[in-house]
Symmetry: C2
Subunit: 158 residues, 2 copies
């Protein structure tokens, strides 16, 4: 079992993975800018992650994720993405706010809740799109504060 990381360490792992994905050479400076912390904080974090076998980092050199580090980073990223999709696609929250919330909540969501949220998104995507679906009804409700006319008050037998 991979060792549990703190929210902070998860942020560092995620940042390294992100920077890699963008092709940039992963340097201390970049990480520090990405996370809004000073370089010495990054150095300290990398030492810790290195001790835990999650990154490779030689003095003054580039930063690389180990396979374990990569798995850990992917896990954080996945949580981030699921939350982000839920916040934007279902709750209709603006991308800026959604990203901020995802960044904070990605560290406290449990695997079970994550899985359910994911299933919920699948369901929302799979269930009827045609005509005002329940999701569209929700958006109407958000905007006008009341249920849309198309939202059946009484059942429509079958």
């Amino acid at each position: 079992m991979e060792k549990e990381q703190t929210a902070s360490m998860e942020d560092y792992l995620e940042a390294v993975a992100m920077l890699r994905r963008r092709g940039k050479a992963v340097r201390v400076k970049e990480i520090s800018q990405a996370l809004g912390v000073k370089m010495p904080s990054v150095t300290a974090a990398l030492k810790k992650l290195s001790d835990d076998g999650l990154v490779e980092h030689e003095r003054y050199g580039r930063v690389k994720l180990t396979p374990a580090g990569d798995r850990a980073a992917k896990s954080v990223f996945h949580r981030h993405q699921v939350l982000l999709r839920f916040l934007t696609q279902v709750l209709s929250i603006s991308p800026q706010i959604a990203v901020e919330d995802a960044c904070r909540m990605e560290h406290s969501i449990s695997p079970i809740t994550l899985e359910r949220l994911s299933k919920f998104l699948e369901f929302a995507g799979a269930c009827p799109r045609e005509r005002p679906s329940w999701l569209e009804n929700y958006k109407h409700y958000l905007e006008y504060g009341q249920l849309p006319a198309s939202c059946p008050e009484k059942s429509v037998k079958e």
Copy 2:
């Protein structure tokens, strides 16, 4: 504007409010048991909250929330409840897990997201309950891994 509290301080405030609501005299011991920390940690936290004007606590005495402390505690509690309802009622997560998640996420959810989640619950409660509603369809999907027969694949024109 009330001063922003840390997750930890919010937990103390919430615990005090909870104990009060249950009629129990709010003592250091109780708080410590409720939060799973040792008594000296509680004493320290109460000193800080007292400095911030959120609780009243005289040496060896009972603990009381000030009006500001009460507002802060209510805010945390409200976040907790909205999350809890969403997790249990919409995502169908078991109460135990849902409580744990709510306890962690209540500290990182933004006011906007909270508000949307709340609206979502209102909507889910208001929109058609008769016949398999979209929420019931979701539960079916959770259980059987596929959309229920009653989930229209094609639109039903009006």
